[in-house]
């Protein structure tokens, strides 16, 4: 068994969901996503036993493109993140009803398929194809099932699509150039390339544009908040939980090893930009009036830190970035879900209009609280492990990076707690807030359980990721 089974399963899942009809769609999708999760666990076990679960086959002769899927610690970690979050995300949507839900869930599964493909692909063009494929479902999910005014949503979503596409097309040019040099798109061949200084510069920034927009790093983030706000929460979760990580993952997998000299040369600027994103995102989040927008900006701040970790080019930086990706993936999904839970009951996301929920729903409050705390990286949560490692790596580069980047723990606490206070605390709200039901609780508990468990015992993830990162670093320092 190799990783293709996972991809095929997800694709079959998407098709099965499509044909299952509107009533069954959500359940079928959940079933398939759970099976996919089980399968990926199984794959992980195999991988840990040392079995090669990668896959290589020729696809196109000219240009030479191979169906190459590589499973190393890094990609397995990201695949597991995807397959673990997908059932949660699907389950989280059980409280909503969608028109044409068969299309909706099929798109969700299809997106999971594309994202898993992106994480696994070891051939540049295949990777690019998956990368773009992931964009289409989210476009339709956000466009058709989104909320708010249609025209505004349209504007935001189209901007998002064009903007991210614009970035990735430059990456495509980069790949085309690399292909002309290497004669192949295979990762290993690209790693072997000896590019001149100037070439590295252009390749690096072609890739950077794609990733900076996707991640997003300021000032390329302008699409983010609006789309998060307008997309249905499932879409927001997919975007923030997994899709952003595609960009960060790609930085580690593709950008840095292919153009290491450029990465080294521009490291201070890149880290500076990323950290500026941390501060900027945090400050903008302070005064947000919309819950989802606030979370979007918090996400901007967090991924800025992750990106900074990636660009440190140290073991800790890359490791920490991966940890933080996973941690952030879970926590942001949880937070957006909390926002959705509130919306289901109060039909608003305006922070001003909320408040006084705690006295009515203590269970929800506790879970929300834990998620808030995890997002501000309280020790004991997995986010702390990630943030600690990343900040540590920054301190190795320059202690001031760590100091400035570290302000996230202050500002983050500030805006998150402020939000929590305004949303949850205060006099009992006049509207009735029912505490979470079973399916909602499962989602929260799963996320919280994950974050707390690995917060105290991060070793398994560490052992999984570390060898792969070391390999990549060896390529970077070749």
């Amino acid at each position: 068994m190799d990783v293709t089974t996972l991809l095929i399963l997800l694709l079959i899942g998407a098709v099965a969901t499509l044909v299952s009809g509107d009533k069954l769609a959500s359940k079928v999708a959940l079933l398939f996503s759970l099976v996919a999760f089980g399968l990926s666990i199984n794959l992980l076990l195999q991988f840990n036993q040392g079995t090669d679960i990668g896959f290589v086959s020729n696809w196109i002769a000219n240009p030479k493109v191979a169906l190459a899927l590589k499973a190393d610690g890094l990609s397995m970690a990201m695949v597991l993140l995807t397959t673990a979050l997908t059932p949660l995300i699907i389950l989280s949507s059980f409280g909503n009803s969608f028109n044409n839900s068969k299309n909706f869930y099929a798109l969700v599964l299809f997106m999971a398929f594309a994202m898993v493909g992106t994480f696994l692909a070891a051939d540049g063009l295949l990777y690019y194809i998956f990368w773009e494929l992931a964009l289409i479902p989210i476009y339709f999910i956000a466009l058709i099932w989104g909320n708010g005014d249609v025209d505004e949503r349209k504007k935001a979503v189209v901007k998002f699509f064009i903007y991210t596409l614009a970035g990735s097309l430059f990456m495509l040019v980069g790949f085309a150039y690399l292909y002309s040099k290497a004669g192949s798109f295979l990762l290993e061949d690209l790693y072997k390339l000896e590019l001149s200084h100037c070439e590295q510069f252009w390749i690096f920034f072609a890739f950077f544009l794609a990733y900076a927009i996707k991640i997003p790093i300021i000032p390329f983030h302008t699409w983010q908040a609006k789309v998060y706000q307008k997309a249905p929460t499932v879409g927001t979760m997919l975007l923030s939980g997994i899709m952003l990580k595609m960009g960060l993952f790609s930085v580690i997998r593709w950008q840095l090893p292919i153009a290491p000299d450029a990465a080294k040369e521009y490291m201070p600027i890149l880290i500076g930009l990323s950290i500026a994103g941390v501060i900027y995102g945090s400050i903008v989040a302070l005064r947000q009036k919309d819950l989802k927008k606030l979370l979007a900006y918090s996400s901007l701040a967090h991924v800025g830190l992750i990106a900074a970790g990636c660009y440190t080019l140290t073991v800790d930086g890359l490791n920490g970035a991966v940890y933080q990706m996973i941690a952030h993936g879970f926590v942001i999904v949880g937070l957006f879900f909390a926002a959705e839970v509130i919306f289901r009951r109060f039909e608003t996301r305006k922070i001003d209009e909320l408040g006084g929920i705690r006295s009515q729903a203590s269970g929800f409050t506790s879970m929300f609280m834990i998620l808030v705390l995890a997002s501000v990286a309280l020790p004991g949560t997995y986010n702390f492990v990630g943030e600690f490692t990343v900040l540590y790596s920054l301190s190795q580069v320059n202690i001031w990076f760590a100091v400035i980047g570290g302000t996230t723990i202050i500002l983050g606490a500030y805006y998150m707690l402020k939000m929590f206070q305004n949303v949850m605390l205060g006099e009992t709200n006049t509207k009735v807030f029912k505490d979470v039901n079973v399916s909602e609780a499962i989602v929260f508990v799963a996320i919280i359980g994950f974050l707390l468990f690995f917060g105290l015992y991060p070793k398994p993830i560490n052992d999984l990721v570390n060898p792969a990162i070391k390999e990549i670093l060896a390529v970077i320092n070749r």
């Binding site: 400050i283 073991v315 490791n319 006084g356 301190s395 605390l425 009992t428």
Partner: protein
């Protein structure tokens, strides 16, 4: 076996937390409280066991539970270290913790969320134990942040009141500023020594192969962390606000235990600070100034808990003064005695507030001596202790600090002495306003005046007793504490020999305290002065009463600009950035609109361009060279 016991010691309060959070609502309040208390008592008893064991064999107990965080140059395990310092801390944390839990059963009995209160309290004890017993800085950091979290939860316990929530938030964020310092300090240490384990750092530091400038920076950063947690200048403003929480919380967290974490940490890392005299100086100066400033603010506060809060800040300042002067044992000594009498004072004030159904303004109290005798007497003892009256516990510990200060720097001594005099003054002011003369509250309150129930008075009595005899642990002469802590302190401190100078200093301190008391007596008993209403306070008093406007200053300097910046970013910069992106589209669309005019349907024009194109191409290819 020891491992299991140590784990039990650590996890027992956590079990209490889990029980209370999940089942607390289903069982009766009594059971909830009892379980909460018992779990802490278990920890206390285990601490005693370990303490006895340690006393017997003198060997610290250290185990590693599991691998935790691993980074490039080192690996950290989740380890427990039970040595002299941590056991000492454990003893009074769990001991006082037990008493306060006991106290809370009665105090919080009327609150609908009592089980949560106990849950949080247990969680706090758990984190405090973690903080204390960790064998490396990162485990300490878990506890460090954990107690901050519990502090947040407990300050905002009455969450329906938004100002209380503000206070909670403020406490958390202020602490986080310190935490960042702590983190950076850790990073530097980790980078320098590739470890965060105390023992390993210690051996590396003493080997002396580190860059002293970086080491100094690390120490400074750690001290910033301590400032946040222990409410030193400039990060002290959260502590008075933290009085929004229920009184047992103030007693436990904001007087006896959590706020001393900074002192614990500095003591823990004493070998590091010993190598960085510049940082030590900074610590001493910050401590002294904090002591003075906080004491001066305490002079005019009218909220009974605020007075105690500023008193706490002031006393913590004194402790840092001692730390900065390298007198770690002295600081620890004061921490312990302070824990006794300050906890007692807080619980006493809680008893008063309980008796007055929530009234905290001293202007509306008075004459409670009769109605609440036990409360009065226990508080009186503690007040005498804090004022530094012989032979109460506070006298010994504070006196040592003053002596150390005198030995190093006279200016610091003077500052500390003034702070002590002020302390004596405002504490007696508190006592006079609360317990003497006639009652100034409403008739209805007067009618209901009564002594608090047993569960409240028993802890008071125990703590009062400790406040009397607590000084015994480090009496000049025996110096038990000094000897006990010797293994964990890098440099040996010369024991004080009681000479003439020392006696004179003791005398001066005592006289100073008595002067403060007499001053208070004169003003509030003889003259019968009652503080004026808020509006009537003028002049410098007003400045002091308003805490030197430090909060306002911070708001003006940091919060406002931050919010302004946020608003600017949100309303101006974000749309502008967005427009830049849209700008490309707008430009393209604009060109498109203009282009439509060229495509005007006129076939003559089309042909014209066609021919021009031909001419251009041919010219370019065949004529232009």
């Amino acid at each position: 076996m020891d491992t299991n016991l140590a784990l039990l010691l650590l996890l027992s309060p956590f079990v209490g937390f889990l029980f209370n959070i999940f089942f607390g609502k289903k069982v009766s309040k009594g059971i909830s409280g009892a379980i909460g208390t018992l779990t802490v008592v278990v920890s206390f008893l285990l601490s005693i066991c370990f303490f006895a064991q340690l006393n017997q064999n003198g060997k610290p107990f250290e185990i590693s539970l599991f691998d935790w965080i691993q980074v490039s140059n080192f690996k950290l395990d989740f380890g427990i270290l039970l040595d002299q310092l941590s056991l000492l801390w454990l003893l009074f944390v769990t001991g006082i913790g037990s008493l306060i839990h006991l106290y809370s059963i009665s105090y919080m009995h009327d609150d609908e969320n009592m089980h949560k209160f106990f849950a949080y309290l247990n969680l706090f004890v758990f984190f405090m134990i973690t903080l204390v017993v960790g064998n490396n800085l990162l485990v300490m950091f878990i506890g460090w942040e954990g107690v901050g979290l519990c502090s947040y939860l407990l300050i905002g316990f009455w969450y329906k009141n938004q100002p209380y929530n503000d206070a909670a938030k403020k406490a958390f964020i202020m602490n986080r500023i310190g935490d960042l310092g702590f983190l950076i300090g850790m990073f530097i240490i980790a980078a320098l020594f590739s470890t965060l384990n105390y023992a390993e750092i210690k051996s590396a530091v003493t080997a002396g192969d580190a860059n002293s400038a970086l080491l100094g920076l690390a120490a400074l950063c750690l001290f910033i962390g301590a400032c946040g947690k222990s409410a030193q200048l400039p990060l002290y403003t959260w502590l008075p606000d933290a009085m929004a929480g229920p009184t047992p919380v103030s007693a436990l967290i904001h007087a006896a235990t959590m706020v001393t974490a900074g002192i614990f940490m500095v003591t823990r890392m004493n070998f590091l600070f010993d190598l960085t005299p510049d940082v030590q100086n900074i610590i001493a100066i910050v401590g002294a100034i904090t002591a003075l400033v906080a004491a001066s603010i305490g002079l005019l506060q009218n909220d009974i808990k605020k007075v105690l809060a500023y008193s706490t800040v002031s006393q913590l300042g004194l402790m840092f003064l001692a730390l900065g002067l390298g007198a770690y044992t002295v600081a620890v000594f004061h921490v312990i005695t302070h824990a006794f009498f300050k906890a007692c004072l807080f619980l006493g004030s809680g008893s008063v507030i309980h008796g007055l159904h929530g009234e905290q303004d001293m202007r509306k109290m008075g004459g409670l001596r009769k109605a609440m005798p036990i409360t009065f007497w226990t508080m009186m003892i503690s007040t005498l202790a804090i004022a530094g009256i012989f032979p109460f516990a506070g006298f010994w510990s504070k006196d040592e600090i003053l002596m150390v200060a005198f030995g190093h720097n006279k200016a610091l001594w003077i500052v500390a002495s003034i702070a002590s005099i002020m302390t004596a003054f405002y504490m007696f002011r508190l006592m006079y306003l609360t317990f003497f003369r006639e009652f100034r509250g409403t008739e209805e309150q007067k009618h209901h005046l009564h002594e608090s129930p047993k569960l409240i008075t028993i802890p008071l009595v125990i703590l009062a007793v400790l406040a009397v005899i607590g000084g015994a642990i480090n009496l000049p002469g025996s110096m038990w504490l000094n000897h006990f802590l010797e293994p964990v302190l890098a440099a040996k401190h010369e024991a004080h020999h009681l000479g003439t100078q020392e006696f004179i200093l003791m005398g001066i301190a005592l006289v100073g305290a008595i002067v403060g008391i007499i001053w208070a007596n004169a003003k509030y008993i003889k003259q019968g002065f009652v503080p004026k209403e808020d509006a009537e306070i003028v002049g410098f008093s007003k400045t002091i009463y308003n805490k030197y406007y430090v909060d306002e200053f911070y708001t003006f300097l940091i919060v406002k600009p931050l919010n302004g910046l946020s608003n600017f970013f949100r309303t101006t910069l974000e749309p502008a950035l967005g427009k830049v992106v849209y700008g490309f589209g707008t430009v393209a669309n604009g060109i498109g609109s203009q282009g439509k005019k060229l495509q005007n349907g006129n076939i003559g024009l089309y042909l014209f361009v066609f021919v021009l194109g031909i001419c251009a191409i041919i010219t370019y290819l065949f004529i232009a060279q």
